[in-house]
Symmetry: C2
Subunit: 330 residues, 2 copies
């Protein structure tokens, strides 16, 4: 069933059917009703591919995220998808993992599907070596590119991010103020966000005359218990009175470690999560964490997409500040 069938049955030309379909141009009420009736009777839907071919768009946006099963990323995807859909954009989801080559490959794939825009969710997409971001800049020559919680300075790239430097700096300073002298930082992936957090901690320590060397930064194995075990090992060669974690799940491991070692939290070890996810108040003691304003970032990102695709001018960089949520673990 195509537009020709409808036009024949309604006794009009395909142009008229098309006009009725799109509400474009003038069509007499009578013919419009007739056409609509035929359309309904046949349960006709215009072919999206044909329309896409003619219009050059299928109103689809590509969403890249390393791993939607991540607590933080899944929420972001959720909010962005819902907002885009409210504006009649579909979301093509693509979980890339963390390998640069995979990111490149999948971006290319998405672009080959003629998406109207591309959204990178998470600072994982900001590479340590700026040259490695060239593939994103290149993509931005074709479609507008949006980054949620990361910043790349390039034409047609629009970013909404949280000031994680300040958040970790402030948090660390506060902890030092309350007596912490030997913090460690635990992370899972070497993302831009991770690097920024490390800088924040390091600077706050430096300001207080505390030496925060590389030995105090540790990458954690995946899984709550493996991670807790790794911490036990670490504690044999390094003493620490505070664990700053790159996300709440790592902080959960720290609590396990503390429990296993008979350490009291926060008295013997302070523990801080990050992201202020449901995990932060599922543990006991509940976790001090950083609310990095995911909702706001999603909102900003999605709005940027919609506005940009509507032809408006938007700002290339928007920064929001985080909140430190103190709970029992510090």
């Amino acid at each position: 069933m195509n537009i020709y069938d409808i036009s024949k049955e309604a006794g009009v030309s395909i142009a008229t059917v098309s006009r009725v379909l799109n509400g474009s141009g003038k069509v007499s009420a009578k013919t419009r009703d007739r056409v609509l009736r035929v359309i309904r009777e046949n349960n006709y839907t215009p072919n999206a591919f044909a329309r896409g071919l003619g219009l050059g768009t299928m109103r689809t946006v590509g969403i890249l995220c390393s791993d939607v099963s991540d607590l933080y990323l899944s929420e972001a995807v959720y909010h962005i998808e819902r907002t885009l859909r409210a504006y009649e954009y579909d979301s093509l989801l693509c979980c890339t993992g963390f390998e640069l080559s995979a990111k490149k490959k999948y971006l290319k794939l998405l672009l080959s599907k003629n998406v109207d825009a591309v959204i990178f969710i998470g600072s994982q997409y900001v590479e340590e070596d700026p040259a490695d971001n060239d593939y994103i800049k290149e993509a931005a020559e074709t479609v507008p590119v949006f980054i949620m919680n990361g910043y790349i300075d390039a034409k047609n790239v629009y970013c909404a991010l949280c000031d994680e430097y300040k958040a970790t700096f402030d948090l660390t300073e506060k902890l030092i103020g309350s007596g912490v002298r030997e913090p460690v930082f635990l992370y899972r992936v070497n993302s831009e966000s991770t690097r920024v957090k490390i800088r924040g901690i390091k600077d706050a320590c430096a300001k207080a005359g505390i030496n925060f060397g590389e030995e105090r930064v540790t990458v954690c194995p995946k899984g709550v218990y493996p991670c807790a075990e790794a911490l036990e090992e670490l504690s044999e060669t390094l003493s620490f009175d505070c664990a700053l974690c790159a996300d709440d799940l790592i902080a959960v491991s720290v609590l396990k470690y503390a429990a296993a070692k008979g350490l009291r939290v926060p008295r013997d070890v302070r523990v801080c999560g990050y992201n202020d996810s449901i995990l932060a108040f599922s543990t006991s003691p509940e976790l001090t964490s950083v609310d990095n304003k995911m909702f706001a970032l999603c909102r900003l990102t999605a709005d940027n997409v919609i506005n940009k695709l509507s032809g408006e001018n938007i700002s290339p960089k928007t920064v929001v500040s985080a909140d430190i949520i103190e709970r029992q673990s510090t």
Copy 2:
């Protein structure tokens, strides 16, 4: 840059370019190399819409889930998306929420994009009144429909699900064996999964001569603390020695409630989660939970999609059994 430009520059016809592009038909090595060189030089990618129009497919699958920000659903989406992508299918994600009207609307939307298949993730899509599932059966006349963790008996609908009845029945029986006499069941949404669990509990109770009436089934407000407070209220009119929860997050609320009331878990109250998510071992005491084999279900579902779209015959219903994971909370 289209296939005509390439053909001109390579000095061949578009047919030859197309053949080179798709590896179809015989092309002499010499011309193929020439065409490939031109393609590479111009960084040419065939237009996906045109291709879709001609072929009637863009190798895209629609994924419906009520809410990807849910711990369980997001993992499912992740695994399914990755598997589909490995077979060069894109995933159009659509978060529908829980309203039947929205589910219908979004399904229609997805179908209008000519997806090759539709996957419903979660038993939320199996309605209590079978007539309400008709929209799914209708869709199945157009494209194959897959349901992860739910069952609808209809042509062209393929389901992979977990035997949640048995899981809750066994769990309840086990608890009764260990002394439980007054269980309650807490849930968030009235999905098919919820209804099945209730039946499992009720039957196990009946078998042991325990009356499990409707007053022992409670819907929880969203949010960990609101839910805990609702429990406190409930406890004023109803006594219970065990809380069976429809998911782990609700169980977290129960732990909060217990802590607030000074109740010891498991001695005063047993608490069981469901899904065996990261929450189950983030709390203390850690939660007894039910592993409903999400990985297996995802694998089965995705494989079914691929196989079906490859023209193979697949089974309309596959059931896997769950595992009860006992931890400290019972």
